[in-house]
């Protein structure tokens, strides 16, 4: 197994590292670090206080008593960099301003291509500072705000403050507290009432300093009747020391608004990826989470939708692909607080080698949520005899008119399917990739085209030499 992984790693075209010297790097988790981050960003006093308070909360909150093993992470907390500022000095307005070195990186990641095709604007995050950011005139004309989170705080402080940390307060969980203390980078999005943004907003994230933790923070507000699709993709080079990523994403979906959040993460396999994603959906609103988890050593991520208004809806579609050395603990939460709310969760996981993928989910129906409906489907595909999968679905139902269902299946890469495809002249590896792609199809069909293509390429790479 390790040989085979090495083989894949060698071929892995995103696995490279650039030579960019950081200007300012802050190591260690102390009030001083937090103060310096806030100072470097020129933040208002209330934010500095918020960060310091969050750090205190972080110290007080317990580590999760469930889920993946985080013991190594605990030991290393002080060894991470909590802030790294790249040498470009600030957000670039056009592609020309982006340094060559970084451009080259993006080129290999395919960003310019994507730009040509569908990008409305790019908030590309290099380390923790936004280095390149273009917003199409169209969006500006519509009054849509799509800027870095830092710029959001500077330029739209009142709006920012009204929503920031209202959905995921620092007290929510230990990693939300950590993020609240040291957050850096991320996007701020506001879509005014009735505005439908036709093209997806995209942001690319990169991590590039050894032992470095990235703490992006994204705040999305979709006002009444508005519509937006936000896409976040992460890929990162491989390092030897453990890396840490804890993001917080808050989305406010107002009355009859429509929001989609798509993310595919392919962090290096020594990364701890601990993310809190939450949306609050008002009357008639809709939130879709599309969540792909391929990389990281450990991922803990459970996109949540709080269905607060009558008729609010949410869907969560997720994919996890866990290989040897990875434990992907992902899932979803639907909290039904109002009548006629509905939700759907589809989770597809693949475990390969000794990889372990876990689904952890919650469907909660409060006494007021008459006629709430939710359906959960979890399917796990196991490639090898030593592959592992878990399912931990929680259903807490306090309303007798609710209709809640959960189904899960576990299957393996079936010999008869492989054989059938082979008799039709398809080589074994390709046949395996084909079966895996078919298994994921209900989720991948919802992905933007270039993501789907990218994902399929990854699956082919992963399935090379893994059967037989």
């Amino acid at each position: 197994m390790p040989e085979e992984l090495k083989h894949i790693a060698d071929d892995y075209r995103w696995d490279f590292k650039d030579e960019v010297e950081p200007e300012l790097a802050l190591k260690g988790l102390t009030p001083e670090t937090v103060k310096k981050i806030s100072e470097a960003k020129g933040e208002p006093a209330w934010m500095t206080e918020f960060r310091l308070k969050a750090l205190e909360i972080f110290y007080k909150l317990p580590w999760p008593s469930w889920g993946p093993d985080l013991s190594e992470l605990k030991e290393k907390l002080d060894e991470f960099y909590y802030y790294v500022k790249p040498p470009t000095g600030g957000p670039a307005k056009s592609w020309d301003e982006v340094p060559e070195e970084i451009k080259k990186t993006y080129e290999r990641l395919g960003i310019p291509e994507a730009e040509q095709k569908v990008l409305a604007g790019v908030g590309a995050q290099y380390d923790s500072e936004v280095v390149y950011h273009s917003v199409k005139e169209e969006l500006e004309r519509l009054g849509v705000i799509f800027v870095s989170i830092e710029e959001g705080l500077k330029e739209h402080e009142e709006l920012f403050r009204r929503y920031f940390a209202k959905l995921v307060p620092p007290t929510d969980n230990k990693f939300a507290a950590l993020n609240s203390a040291v957050w850096s980078g991320g996007s701020f999005v506001y879509v005014p009432p009735g505005v439908e943004v036709e093209v997806p907003l995209q942001a690319y994230f990169r991590v590039n300093t050894a032992g470095f933790g990235q703490f992006e923070r994204t705040l999305i507000i979709v006002d009444e009747g508005a519509k937006v699709h936000y896409i976040e993709g992460c890929t990162a080079p491989l390092y030897t020391t453990e890396a840490l990523h804890t993001g917080v994403i808050e989305i406010f979906v107002h009355k009859n608004a429509h929001s989609r959040y798509t993310t595919i993460q392919n962090w290096p396999t020594n990364m701890y990826n601990l993310v809190t994603q939450r949306a609050r959906v008002e009357e008639g609103g809709y939130q879709m989470w599309l969540d792909g988890n391929l990389g990281s050593k450990v991922t803990m991520k459970y996109p949540s939708s709080i269905l607060r208004g009558r008729g609010a809806r949410s869907e969560v579609l997720s994919i996890a692909f866990a290989k040897t050395g990875q434990h992907l603990d992902t899932g979803a939460k639907l909290i039904h607080l109002a009548p006629d709310t509905s939700g759907r969760i589809v989770s597809k996981s693949i475990s390969k080698g000794e990889g372990r993928s876990s689904y952890r989910g919650l469907v909660k129906v409060s006494p007021r949520a008459d006629r709430a409906k939710a359906n959960v489907e979890c399917d796990a595909l196991l490639i090898h005899p030593e592959s592992k999968t878990d399912t931990y679905p929680y259903m807490e139902i306090e309303n007798e008119t609710a209709q809640i269902g959960h189904e899960a299946t576990v299957s393996r890469l079936a010999d008869d399917q492989l054989f059938y495809l082979e008799t039709r002249g398809i080589p074994e590896d390709e046949a395996a990739a084909l079966i895996v792609r078919g298994f994921l199809e209900p989720v991948t069909k919802e992905l933007p085209l270039e993501f789907a293509v990218e994902l399929n390429r990854l699956i082919e790479l992963e399935m090379e030499g893994s059967v037989g």
């Binding site: 008593s65 469930w66 006494p367 008459d370 796990a380 196991l382 490639i383 090898h384 005899p385 030593e386 592959s387 592992k388 999968t389 878990d390 399912t391 931990y392 679905p393 929680y394 259903m395 807490e396 139902i397 306090e398 309303n399 007798e400 008119t401 609710a402 209709q403 809640i404 269902g405 959960h406 189904e407 899960a408 299946t409 576990v410 299957s411 393996r412 890469l413």
Partner: protein
């Protein structure tokens, strides 16, 4: 009467007439009990039950044997009612901690079948008891298992020698007494190829802790039922583990209809190829009852099968909880494991929690689980009403229909009919609390 509670065990239990090795085992369990922490809501399995556990009166005096016996015609009405027309191979009736009545078919006795009180068996057949006791539900499993191991005073012992097949069921009735805490323990051992049915029913009041250890040696088959219909101010905490060796079959039914707070932890360890554990559950919480269930299908061997099918109904402010885990150890290939939990909520205020879990570490397996929570179907209700059924009758019919496929899978017709009647009585009973407006 002695008023020493289970929390202070030394004095009352030292008086029990039992072998020294057993006293030692108890002593070790007692030490463990003193050391282990009480479960809290942070313990996954107790997530929804820890609050209710606090209401269990562990300080009630421990029920101890008083040497009370009964003649057959003196048996309590509830027991005689249940035995009416029933054929059985053996019968045990416990009043509090006393084995008040015991009966076993003479022919079976001769063939080496044992069916008696566990305490009596420990004295008279120590070798049979000792080789299995505490092997399936050891004290180290937790605070309550430790208490169960240290403080049991009564319970049934069933032993079937190799190859013996008995079609008639063995019955044990436990009548618990108001204001006491009683601790019972049942041990059933089926030697190679043996076949039997054992039904244990718990009636009466008080707070009862029960542990059952079931041993199925190769090719043994057991139909087992644990039925709890205690009064609604009582408490019932139950833990069952069955060890299934190769080619064995267990068909198990757990029923919780009574008690204020009842919890059943039912698990099967599949230790050999060909082992098959079918675990059924029926529960119905009304008033403020809380019925909590935690199942385990633990596959340690390849080529075994297990199937959990638990169905619950909640009415008034009743709470029904199901948690279950299918765990496949590495190497448990060619496993079939299924888990289904269905819940029916009858009115506002009723609640259900369902947590069906899988932990799978083998790939060539067929595993699935499903769970649902739903109200009475309005269309079905209307349909029945157009046929002349009153709302209550229609609901009753739909509840019976909902539970039918579980009760229908237990090959004990009399028991299924009895349970159907108890359930019907609960459906028709006036709502305990005024239904809150929408």
């Amino acid at each position: 009467m002695m008023t020493v509670s289970a929390l202070d065990l030394e004095t009352p239990l030292s008086a029990l007439d039992e072998p020294a090795w057993l006293k030692e085992e108890r002593e070790a369990a007692r030490a463990l009990f003193a050391r282990l922490p009480w479960p809290t809501a942070k313990d996954e399995s107790w997530r929804y039950a820890a609050g209710r556990l606090k209401s269990v009166p562990f300080d009630w005096p421990l029920a101890l044997p008083r040497g009370k016996t009964l003649q057959k015609e003196e048996l309590p009405e509830a027991v005689r009612e249940r035995l009416k027309g029933a054929e059985y191979a053996g019968l045990l009736v416990f009043l509090g901690a006393d084995l008040a009545y015991a009966e076993l078919d003479g022919d079976l006795k001769e063939k080496g079948v044992l069916f008696t009180g566990l305490l009596e068996a420990a004295r008279r057949h120590p070798e049979r008891v000792r080789e299995s006791l505490y092997r399936a539900v050891p004290a180290k499993d937790g605070k309550l298992p430790a208490l169960m191991a240290a403080a049991w005073t009564h319970g049934a012992f069933l032993y079937l020698p190799k190859g013996l097949e008995e079609p008639r069921p063995f019955f044990a009735f436990f009548l618990h007494e108001e204001g006491t805490l009683s601790v019972g323990r049942t041990l059933a051992v089926l030697e190679e190829g043996a076949r039997a049915s054992y039904v244990e029913e718990h009636l009466g009041e008080g707070a009862h802790l029960a542990a059952s250890e079931l041993f199925l040696r190769p090719a043994a088959h057991l139909v087992h039922a644990h039925v709890q219909t205690q009064g609604e101010k009582s408490y019932h905490l139950y833990r069952q583990r069955a060890l299934l060796e190769k080619d064995t079959g267990l068909r198990d039914l757990t029923v919780n209809l009574g008690a204020d707070f009842a919890r059943a932890e039912v698990g099967s360890e599949l230790l050999g190829p060909g082992a098959d554990s079918e675990m059924l559950g029926v529960y119905f919480a009304a008033g403020r009852q809380h019925h909590d269930h935690d199942t385990l299908q633990h596959h340690k061997s390849p080529q075994a099968r297990s199937d959990v099918y638990y169905k619950g109904v909640a009415k008034d402010e009743g709470t029904i909880v199901y948690q279950g885990l299918i765990r496949l150890e590495p190497g448990a290939q060619k496993t079939d494991a299924y888990q289904t939990n269905r819940n029916l909520l009858l009115n506002r205020g009723a609640r259900a929690e369902s947590v069906p879990k899988l932990e799978i570490a083998a790939n060539d397996v067929r595993c699935s689980h499903g769970s649902s929570i739903a109200p009475i179907d309005e269309e079905e209700l209307f349909y029945l009403r157009t046929r002349g059924f009153s709302k209550e009758s229609a609901e009753n019919l739909l509840v019976a229909a909902f539970l039918e496929d579980v009760l229908g899978r237990i090959p004990l017709k009399d028991l299924a009919d009895h349970l159907a009647r108890v359930i019907e009585e609960k459906v028709f009973r006036e709502p305990l609390l005024a239904e809150k407006g929408r």
